[in-house]
Amino acid sequence: MEARDIVVHPDSCVRCYRCQLECSFLRTRMFNPEEAFIKIDWNWVNDKPSISFTDDCDNCGVCVRACIYECLTLREKG
C-alpha cells in the first residue's frame, strides 16, 4: 500500500462524504465521518473542498473505491 498514492481531484468532489463513510466503517467498524482518515474541509466562501489525509492513512484505497465521482484515484509510485 505504501507503493501508491491517492490523487485528489477536488473539482470533482460533490460533498457526498461516501469516502469518509467507507473509511470510518473499515477502520472503526462504525460510520463516523469525523473519525475517517480522509478529511474534507469545505470552504463555504468559494465552495471548494480541501481534501487531505491524516498520518494514519496507509493508502488502502477504500475511499477511492467509494467515490463514484472520480474525485480520488490511485497512482502507483515510481
Binding site: 463513510l21 472503526t28 460510520f31 465521518p33 463514484i68
Partner: protein, 647 residues
C-alpha cells in the same frame, strides 16, 4: 440496550422552559414505525393536539433521522419533519436532503422534538450530545445564506445547518427552511412555524458512530446498489443536469407551465435563452450531493458578468419554470429571482402559484390597482423581484399574498377559491395537471399535505408518460404489491386503475421516507421493497420481510391520515381542482384529461369512481374517505379508533 442502525435516543427541547431532555427510543415504536417519517408521525399523534393554531406555542415540530441515515446506504441523506402547517391546517410532514438527518444521528439522536416558544430569537446547537439554545439576535433579520455561513464559521463547515430566512421570521405561510443553503424542507409553512417559535436555525454534528448489526450483509446490499448505479447508462447525464438533459420539452411539460392558462408554450425559444445548454455553459459551477448519494442532483450556480454578476444560487437542478411562468425572459433574471427566493426562505412552487393566482384575480377584477398600491401584476423581472420582496416582508399586497389562499380569501372573499388551483389550501403549481391522470394527482388529492414530492413520485409514469403496462407490472413486484391487488389494479378497461395503484405508491413513499432514503425518481428505482427489507434487517438486526415492510408503510400512512381525520379532514376535502377538466392547449391542439393509456377522456364521475377505488383498496370507508375501525385495529392503531368520529 445496544442499538444498531438507530442511535436509541429522542431529544426533546422545550423552547419556553429551555428544558432539554433525552428519551430512550422505544424498540416497539421503532419496529412498528421504522424511523424518521414514520416515528415522527406516531409521536405527532401524542404530541400535537387537534385544533391548535399552528403559529402558537402549542404546535410541535418533529425532525426524524431514519435507521439508514448516517450510513453508506446510497441515498440515505433525507430528513423528514412533522408539524401542523399554517398553509393547509393539516398535520403533515415533508422531506429535505443535504444530510441533516445524518448529522443529527452523529450528534446522538434519532428524533428531535421541539415544543414551546422562545422569548427571543435563538438557534439550537446539537453538537456531540452538547445541546444548547444560543441567543440569535445577531442572526435574526439575516437571510438563510448569511445565517448558514455564519454558523459554519462558528461551528465548522461539516455541520449541517437548517435555517429560516426573513419569510419565516415574518410568518409567511409560503415560507420554508433550507438545509445547508441548498435543500428545501418545509413546504406548507415550516419556516413560519419556526419563526413563530423564534427558532432561527438548528446546527447538528458529532462523532457518535453508527453501528450496523451485520456488517457483511449490509455491505453486500450497498455493493448491489452501487453496482446498479455504476451500470446505469444515464448516470453521467443525471449528474450533469438531472432529468432536464434528456428531453427538455417532455420534462418541462411535467413541471408546470402556465397553470392558469392551461397552455403549453412553444419551448424552442425558451430553450435558446433558458435551456440546459445555456445553463451548463455559463451558469453551473459545481454539482453537490446529499449525504451518501451516488447520483448528485443539486447545483451551485453563479452569474459572471452582467447586472447580477456574482449572484450565487444553491438548488436542486435548475429549470426555467419560474422564468417562463412569471414572464422573466433572461437566464440571469431567472437566477436572481431564484437566489432571492432561496435567501428569503420562500417556497418556490408556492410562490409561483400564488403570483399566478393573484394575476388571475386581477384579471377578473377581484383585485384592483387600489388593492395592489399600483402594481398591475404584469410579467417581468422587476415586477417579480418587487413581489418577492413584498411577500417576504409583508408589505402592501404582499401581506395578503404571504398567507396563501387563506390570506386572499380573508381579504377578498371566499368566491376567490374557484380561481385557485389547490388541494387542501396548497397550490397545485408544483406539478399541475398534464393531460394524463397519474398517481401524482391521486396522491395530491388524497394525501395529507396536498401537492408536493410524495407518493406520486414513486410511479413509473411520473417522468415517463409513455411508461408501458409491463413497467407498471414490474413496479408491482418492486413495491411488494400482493398478487390479488395487482389483479384488481389491472382489471379495468383503462388497463390500469390508477386509484388502486396510488395506495401502494403512498405506502412505498412512507417506507422510503421512514428509512431516510431519497424518493426522487432518479433514486427510488434502486430500492425495491425486498432490498429495503434486506438492508433494514442488516442494519438493525430486526428481521423483516418485504411484505411486512409494506405493511409498516400502510400503518405509517394510516397514522398520518388519522392525524388529519381528527382535525376534521375527510373525503369532502379530497377534491380535484376544477381546472383539471379544462383541456390543455398544445401545439397539436387541445388535449383533455385522459387516463395513462389514453383509453378515455375522464369525466368528474370517472375521477370520483377512481377515488372510490382508492379508498376501497385502502380498506377504508369509501363514503367518508377515512380508515375504518377494523382497519385501524388490524394495523395496531387501536388508540386512533375513537378519533374517527371527528371527521
Amino acid at each position: 440496550m445496544e442499538y444498531c442502525g438507530y442511535v436509541g435516543k429522542i431529544l426533546h427541547v422545550d423552547l419556553t422552559t429551555r428544558r432539554i431532555r433525552e428519551e430512550v427510543l422505544d424498540t416497539e415504536l421503532a419496529r412498528s414505525f421504522i424511523g424518521d417519517y414514520g416515528i415522527s408521525a406516531s409521536l405527532a399523534y401524542d404530541l400535537i393536539k387537534p385544533g391548535i393554531d399552528p403559529l402558537l406555542p402549542e404546535n410541535v415540530i418533529l425532525f426524524g433521522a431514519g435507521p439508514l441515515a448516517g450510513t453508506s446506504a446510497p441515498g440515505a441523506g433525507r430528513c423528514h419533519f412533522f408539524t401542523k402547517l399554517p398553509l393547509t391546517g393539516t398535520v403533515a410532514g415533508g422531506g429535505g436532503g443535504q444530510g441533516f438527518s445524518s448529522r443529527l444521528k452523529y450528534a446522538g439522536y434519532d428524533e428531535l422534538v421541539i415544543t414551546g416558544h422562545a422569548n427571543s430569537p435563538v438557534y439550537l446547537k446539537i453538537l456531540d450530545g452538547d445541546v444548547e439554545l444560543i441567543d440569535a439576535a445577531d442572526l435574526w433579520g439575516e437571510d438563510i445564506y448569511q445565517t448558514t455561513d455564519r454558523l459554519w464559521e462558528k461551528h465548522g463547515s461539516s455541520c449541517s445547518v437548517l435555517a429560516i430566512g426573513q419569510a419565516g421570521e415574518n410568518l409567511a405561510n409560503l415560507s420554508l427552511a433550507l438545509v445547508n443553503k441548498g435543500s428545501t424542507i418545509g413546504r406548507g409553512g415550516l419556516g413560519a412555524v419556526m419563526g413563530s417559535k423564534n427558532l432561527k436555525a438548528i446546527v447538528a454534528n458529532g462523532r457518535r458512530g453508527i453501528k450496523v448489526y451485520d456488517r457483511r450483509r449490509f455491505r453486500g446490499v450497498v455493493n448491489q446498489v452501487m453496482a446498479d448505479v455504476r451500470a446505469y447508462p444515464k448516470w453521467h447525464d443525471i449528474v450533469r443536469l438531472s432529468h432536464l438533459i434528456f428531453d427538455f420539452d417532455r420534462i418541462m411539460s411535467h413541471l408546470g407551465f402556465t397553470n392558469y392558462l392551461r397552455e403549453f408554450p412553444d419551448l424552442t425559444e425558451v430553450r435558446e435563452v433558458l435551456g440546459p445548454e445555456v445553463y451548463l455553459k455559463r451558469i453551473k459551477i459545481r454539482r453537490i450531493a446529499c449525504f451518501s448519494c451516488p447520483m448528485a442532483c443539486h447545483d451551485i450556480s453563479e452569474l459572471k458578468g452582467g447586472t447580477f454578476s456574482g449572484v450565487k444560487f444553491y438548488s436542486h437542478g435548475l429549470t426555467p419554470i419560474l422564468a417562463v411562468r412569471l414572464g422573466i425572459d433572461s437566464m440571469d433574471g431567472n437566477i436572481k429571482c431564484r437566489e432571492l427566493i432561496g435567501r428569503y426562505g420562500l417556497d418556490y412552487f408556492g410562490l409561483m402559484g400564488q403570483i399566478e393566482y393573484a394575476r388571475e384575480l386581477y384579471q377578473q377584477g377581484i383585485i384592483t390597482k387600489d388593492d395592489t398600491g399600483g402594481i398591475e401584476f404584469k410579467p417581468g423581472l422587476e415586477a417579480m423581484k418587487d413581489l418577492i420582496e413584498k411577500i417576504t416582508f409583508r408589505k402592501g399586497i404582499g401581506d395578503v399574498l404571504a398567507d396563501g389562499l387563506s390570506g386572499v380569501e380573508k381579504k377578498f372573499g371566499k368566491e376567490c377559491e374557484q380561481y385557485c388551483l389547490h388541494t387542501k389550501g396548497m397550490d397545485t403549481s408544483e406539478h399541475p395537471v398534464i393531460s394524463k391522470l397519474g398517481a401524482k394527482q391521486i396522491d395530491e388529492v388524497t394525501g395529507v399535505i396536498g401537492p408536493t414530492h410524495k407518493g406520486g413520485m414513486i410511479n413509473p409514469g411520473k417522468f415517463e408518460p409513455s411508461a408501458s403496462l409491463e413497467s407498471f407490472i414490474e413496479f408491482g413486484d418492486k413495491a411488494a404489491i400482493p398478487k390479488e391487488a395487482m389483479n384488481r389494479i389491472l382489471d379495468t378497461p383503462m388497463k390500469l386503475n390508477i386509484g388502486r395503484l396510488t395506495r401502494y405508491t403512498q405506502d412505498y413513499y412512507a417506507i422510503m421516507s421512514s428509512l431516510g432514503l431519497c424518493i426522487r425518481a432518479h433514486m427510488n428505482w434502486l430500492w425495491p421493497m425486498s432490498r429495503m427489507a434486506d438492508i433494514y434487517s442488516a442494519a438493525t438486526g430486526i428481521e423483516i420481510t418485504a411484505s411486512q415492510l409494506q405493511k409498516a408503510g400502510e400503518r405509517i400512512h394510516n397514522v398520518a391520515k388519522m392525524l388529519n381525520v381528527r382535525e376534521g379532514f375527510s373525503r369532502k376535502d379530497d377534491k380535484f381542482p376544477s381546472t383539471y377538466f379544462k383541456p390543455l392547449k398544445t401545439r397539436e391542439g387541445e388535449k383533455p384529461l385522459m387516463d395513462h393509456f389514453e383509453t378515455k377522456v375522464l369525466t368528474k364521475e370517472d375521477l370520483e369512481s377512481l377515488l372510490d377505488d382508492y379508498y376501497d383498496e385502502r380498506g377504508w370507508d369509501v363514503k367518508k374517505g377515512i380508515p375504518t375501525p377494523a382497519k385501524l385495529i388490524e394495523l395496531g392503531l387501536d388508540r386512533s379508533v375513537a378519533d374517527l368520529n371527528k371527521a
